[in-house]
């Protein structure tokens, strides 16, 4: 499937990105008291998607939906969060980020659900 249903693959890529980002943030929070640990994050979805959309054709993406999932892990930093033991995790900052990831995931699933509903409606099988 390509063309019109690109929105579905985009929504699922967004949900996968949010889930992966949440995993990385969960690791940060688990290591909030590990000495020498540096907080990580995933690059924003818009950047990653723009890169994969420009390098992969629509057909490649349609055949391999996960082909664009080469998200880069970046070292994140909140100003003033460095502890004396070298740990750079700030719990408040991580909570904000994970709520952001959760919101992105909710948005992606809502878009997916709505698109399916519209398709069903156009086929005359509303709800």
């Amino acid at each position: 499937m390509s063309g019109d249903l690109n929105i579905l693959s985009m929504a699922s890529a967004m949900a996968r990105h949010a889930a992966h980002r949440h995993e990385i943030l969960a690791q940060n929070i688990a290591n909030a008291d590990t000495s020498g640990y540096r907080a990580k994050d995933l690059e924003p979805f818009a950047e990653a998607y723009g890169r994969s959309a420009s390098s992969l054709s629509v057909h490649e993406l349609a055949e391999q939906p996960n082909a664009g999932d080469d998200w880069r892990v970046i070292v994140s930093s909140a100003p003033g969060s460095q502890s004396p033991n070298g740990n750079s995790v700030s719990l408040e900052d991580q909570m904000m980020r994970s709520v952001e990831a959760q919101g992105a995931h909710d948005a992606a699933t809502a878009i997916y659900k709505k698109t399916i509903e519209i398709l069903r409606l156009s086929l005359g099988r509303g709800n």
Partner: protein, 130 residues
């Protein structure tokens, strides 16, 4: 491995580690008046669990605080040395309280992460329920 399972296993290992730390804090507080007791401390390590395929946190070795033991003048005590001093523990209650508070706060952050992952997972499964 599923990303949500990765989130949940990282959060669970974090809760486990903080719970262990809280246990050591209460052991220290309980032994604050035990003669000769040395305060226990623990460090955490970030590890990759290859069996589960997930990054987790691991509790390191328990070490004893090498700070000097508090000496109390009590010549009547059977444990007193020739000068009349008894070696008590090196537990500082204020420090233990601060440590316990921090462990508690980190535990709650892990719990919140776990609940978020569960919420996201269930909203994904809701898509199938149509």
């Amino acid at each position: 491995m599923n990303d949500f399972m990765g989130s949940m296993s990282a959060a669970a290992s974090g809760m486990n580690a903080q719970g262990y730390r809280l246990r050591l804090v209460s052991e220290n507080v309980a032994n604050a008046d035990t003669p000769g007791y040395r305060r226990k401390t623990v460090g955490f390590n970030a590890v990759f669990d290859s069996a589960a395929g997930a990054n987790r946190v691991e509790v390191g070795r328990v070490t004893f605080d090498s700070a000097p033991l508090e000496e109390r003048y009590d010549p009547a005590n059977p444990l007193a040395n020739e000068a009349g001093y008894v070696q008590m523990s090196n537990v500082n209650l204020v420090m233990e309280m601060a440590d316990g508070r921090e462990a508690n706060r980190s535990y709650e952050a892990n719990l919140a992460t776990f609940q978020q992952a569960r919420h996201m997972y269930s909203s994904l499964l809701d898509l199938l329920k149509r």
